[in-house]
């Protein structure tokens, strides 16, 4: 069981000031690289918590839905223009980012995913496709600068990042509709 160690190392690496400053200096790497990597570090570390508190996870996250909800809430929270801006100007918000994304989004997602039936899995992907399309639309066609710390051009880049991610998820949804994955398992 090496994966929690790798997760912790990833989290520590992301916390190093040169790395966090670099990723935060560009809007799209802040949202579409640093934040997902923080979630990934949580995915790796989840095993540690599952082994440590098996009772807690099996009792309170029996069907995976509470964990899925928590993951979605944290992800939505970090897609607000304001939270991203304040992570740069307020230390408390920055600290919360480094705690909430790994431990309140990554860990519950890892615990929930195998427990979820395909209805919930697809519901989650459809939900994030719609959310990303809406956010892409907001960031590209918003007449105002949403974040004080980034230029408008970066905001538009981020918007297209959201749209392309949504597109990729649509491709996956179509693919999974026509293909029978159980044949491969």
């Amino acid at each position: 069981m090496k994966s929690p160690v790798y997760g912790l190392l990833l989290l520590l690496a992301l916390m190093l000031p040169p790395i966090s400053n670099l990723l935060e200096s560009i809007m799209i790497t802040h949202m579409h690289m640093q934040m997902p990597l923080l979630v990934v570090s949580g995915l790796f570390m989840a095993k540690f918590f599952q082994n440590r508190f098996p009772e807690f996870f099996s009792k309170w996250n029996e069907n995976g839905v509470p964990g899925l909800l928590l993951f979605s809430i944290i992800m939505m929270y970090w897609s607000l223009p304001r939270t991203m801006d304040e992570a740069l100007t307020l230390t408390s918000v920055e600290v919360f980012k480094f705690i909430s994304l790994p431990f309140l989004a990554g860990v519950p997602l890892r615990d929930s995913w195998p427990k979820l039936n395909s209805f919930w899995k697809h519901a989650l992907i459809i939900f994030f496709t719609i959310l990303f399309l809406a956010l892409g639309w907001l960031y590209i066609w918003s007449p105002v600068q949403l974040c004080n710390n980034y230029l408008v051009i970066e905001q538009i880049t981020l918007g297209w990042g959201f749209i392309s991610t949504a597109f990729a998820m649509v491709v996956y949804l179509i693919y999974s509709y026509f293909m029978d994955f159980s044949k491969y398992e």
Partner: protein, 210 residues
């Protein structure tokens, strides 16, 4: 306690946590961008305009206390700006025209402050002033030559200026109204001319009654 439907209970708890998180993060669902939060906070704090030295379009230097006893309507700009600033100044001139003449110069002073003191010398400011129909007296354009003083004003009023690689600045814009004691009392949306003019007239009117 042995709840019979534990996952429903934990889902509910998670949802409540989410609502609290969003409530705190957006100041009670009021501010979804940092700019709205900034404006709300400024109006609560009512910061004092620091007593800095201004140099205006006539080349005269004086401190901000020159305007004591008057309301001051302020915008921040730089003259080489090709995007927001011309619009900001046109809108400012529209507000200027809508304020009843009896107040102009007596009760209220209009002031455009440049945050690019290197390029915006009095001569440049004077040319810029003419383009927007400012008279240079009741509506002045000025720079704050001391960088340190300029920074203190920008910081106090929450104006964020980011220089880009082409010699331009990205910045947030608004109409600011400072009261006769030098405190910031209103931050208004610079695109809503009528609303800003009405609000200012109302304040001037009640100011006279006192």
């Amino acid at each position: 306690m042995f709840p019979k439907n534990r996952t429903a209970l934990s889902s509910l708890l998670v949802l409540m946590f989410g609502i609290v998180l969003f409530y705190i993060g957006t100041d009670g669902f009021k501010a979804f961008t940092a700019e709205t939060a900034r404006v709300n906070q400024l109006m609560d704090e009512k910061p004092q305009f620091p007593d800095v030295t201004l140099e205006d379009n006539n080349g005269k230097s004086y401190s901000f206390s020159e305007f004591e006893g008057k309301y001051v309507f302020i915008t921040f700009l730089y003259t080489s700006c090709g995007t927001v600033c011309p619009e900001l100044e046109v809108n400012m001139s529209e507000v200027y025209k809508r304020i009843p003449e009896e107040y102009i110069g007596h009760d209220i002073q209009f002031l455009s402050i440049s945050f690019d003191p290197e390029r915006d010398d009095p001569k440049t400011l004077d040319t810029y002033r003419k383009a927007f129909g400012s008279d240079g007296e009741t509506w002045r354009m000025a720079r704050i030559p001391e960088q340190q003083e300029l920074d203190s004003v920008l910081d106090r009023f929450g104006v964020i200026v980011i220089p880009d690689e082409y010699g331009n600045f990205a910045h947030n814009s608004a109409f600011y109204l400072v009261n006769p004691k030098g405190q910031l009392i209103e931050v208004m949306d610079y695109t809503l001319i009528e609303e800003a003019a009405d609000r200012v007239t109302e304040i001037l009117h009640s100011g006279r009654e006192e």
